[in-house]
């Protein structure tokens, strides 16, 4: 096993907890805004780690660029999507949760 594979694999594995935590937040948090918060933040970091890890594993710069592009696009999309969901929820009169 070469060092690229090792580092890449470690990065991918490091990304996993973020997804798990994000999902946990989605399931356990009290309202739509906090859920969005958990999901978009944690998943974006997780995806970044996975993409970087896979890019290192692939060993080709072109592939690395493509994976990075995927990550950037996902960032933009999830930011916009989360914003839209939150705005719609707010417009429909869903109050943010307060403890």
């Amino acid at each position: 096993m070469s060092w690229t594979e090792l580092v890449g694999g470690l990065l991918v594995i490091a990304g996993m907890p973020f997804f798990i935590l994000g999902t946990l937040g989605l399931l356990r948090f009290p309202d739509v805004y906090t859920r969005l918060h958990a999901l978009s933040k944690a998943d974006n970091v997780g995806l970044g780690l996975v993409c970087v890890g896979l890019g290192i594993q692939s060993g080709s710069p072109a592939m690395m660029l493509k994976l990075l592009l995927i990550w950037v696009l996902m960032l933009v999309a999830s930011a916009t999507g989360a914003g839209l969901i939150a705005r719609t929820a707010l417009a429909r009169g869903i109050r943010p949760w307060s403890p």
């Binding site: 696009l73 933009v76 930011a79 916009t80 914003g83 839209l84 719609t88 707010l90 417009a91």
Partner: protein, 317 residues
């Protein structure tokens, strides 16, 4: 990959079955539609598992993307969200359990068994053998645009026809304005559209030697257009006769038809490209087919004839 792959496939299958059930049965229509969209996305994964990356690309863009957008916007107008009890939708009585469930299980089992017995000789060898004369290196593209180009012509015809039929049913409904406009959305539409064009061009270029080609490219571009529309961009098909847009919409179909006839006039059969120019002809066809698929998906998405009365000041755009 053996065991892990099997487990993955099994999980995927279970998720797909659940989503399909939700899509057809969920009490809430919105939930059903969203389940269907996720179903399409997961199907794309299944296509990859089945070594059909072309289909995966098309499914993600068309099956989940374009169809999903169509369904959601229709839903927006059809069903104001309203809670419905599960029982109202799914009324299981004795007859269901005695008659339907066993019959259905038997049918599914028989289908699986029958399909499992299939020898599936396949035309892979024949197609690979003919690939050299086809003008492209990627077998699926060769089948689509050379061996079975007639199917593709008629398929784009169906898409043109769908656009005509949808337009014939009346004026396009006014786009529903978002309740609370988001500043990021129009920006996203604007900045992402070049990316869509880039990805589409890349897929188109890849199509001659690897998975990709006109269909995924067209679908991606069309999905980009729909996203633009969702992001608040004005459809630019505006004047009474729709300016040159009707011609552009039907251009892909017309060019393919033209190529087919030229093949026949050159002494061959309908759609027979002379060997020397086959690869160029296919490239031209791919570009036009991809473009027209994109535009037609967009035209169909308008869900009606774009009407000139909506805003006269933009007629010339």
């Amino acid at each position: 990959m053996g065991l892990v792959g099997q487990v993955f496939d099994a999980l995927l299958a279970i998720a797909l079955v659940w989503l399909a059930w939700q899509a057809t049965r969920a009490a809430d229509l919105f939930r059903a539609v969203v389940s269907f969209i996720v179903f399409g996305l997961l199907m794309a994964v299944a296509w990859v598992r089945l070594e059909a990356p072309d289909i995966a690309l098309a499914e993600a863009a068309i099956g989940a993307g374009a169809t999903g957008a169509l369904l959601l916007s229709a839903l927006d107008r059809l069903a104001p969200r309203r809670g419905r009890s599960w029982a109202r939708v799914w009324r299981a009585d004795a007859r269901t359990w005695v008659l339907w469930v066993p019959a259905v299980m038997a049918l599914a089992g028989a289908l699986t068994a029958a399909a499992w017995q299939l020898p599936a000789p396949g035309l892979g060898a024949v197609a690979t053998g003919a690939l050299e004369q086809s003008g492209v290196d990627h077998a699926v593209t060769a089948v689509l645009l050379n061996f079975r180009a007639l199917d593709t012509l008629l398929e784009i015809g169906v898409l043109v026809l769908a656009a005509v039929a949808v337009w014939s049913m009346g004026p396009a409904p006014a786009a529903s304005a978002p309740v609370m406009p988001s500043p990021t959305l129009p920006m996203l539409g604007r900045t992402l559209f070049p990316v869509f064009v880039l990805v589409a061009a890349y897929l188109l270029w890849r199509g001659s030697h690897a998975p990709g080609g006109a269909f995924p490219a067209g679908a991606v571009l069309g999905a980009g257009g729909i996203l633009m529309l969702l992001a608040g961009a004005q459809p630019w098909i505006r004047s009474a006769e729709h300016g040159p847009w009707r011609a552009i919409l039907s251009a892909g179909f017309a060019v393919m038809l033209f190529a087919a006839i030229v093949g026949a006039l050159a002494g061959g059969a309908f759609f027979e490209y002379p060997a020397a120019i086959a690869s160029h002809a296919i490239l031209v066809l791919e570009v036009t087919a991809g473009m027209s698929i994109a535009l037609l998906l967009f035209a169909v998405y308008l869900r009606g004839e774009p009407h000139p009365a909506a805003d006269t000041d933009r007629q010339r755009c």
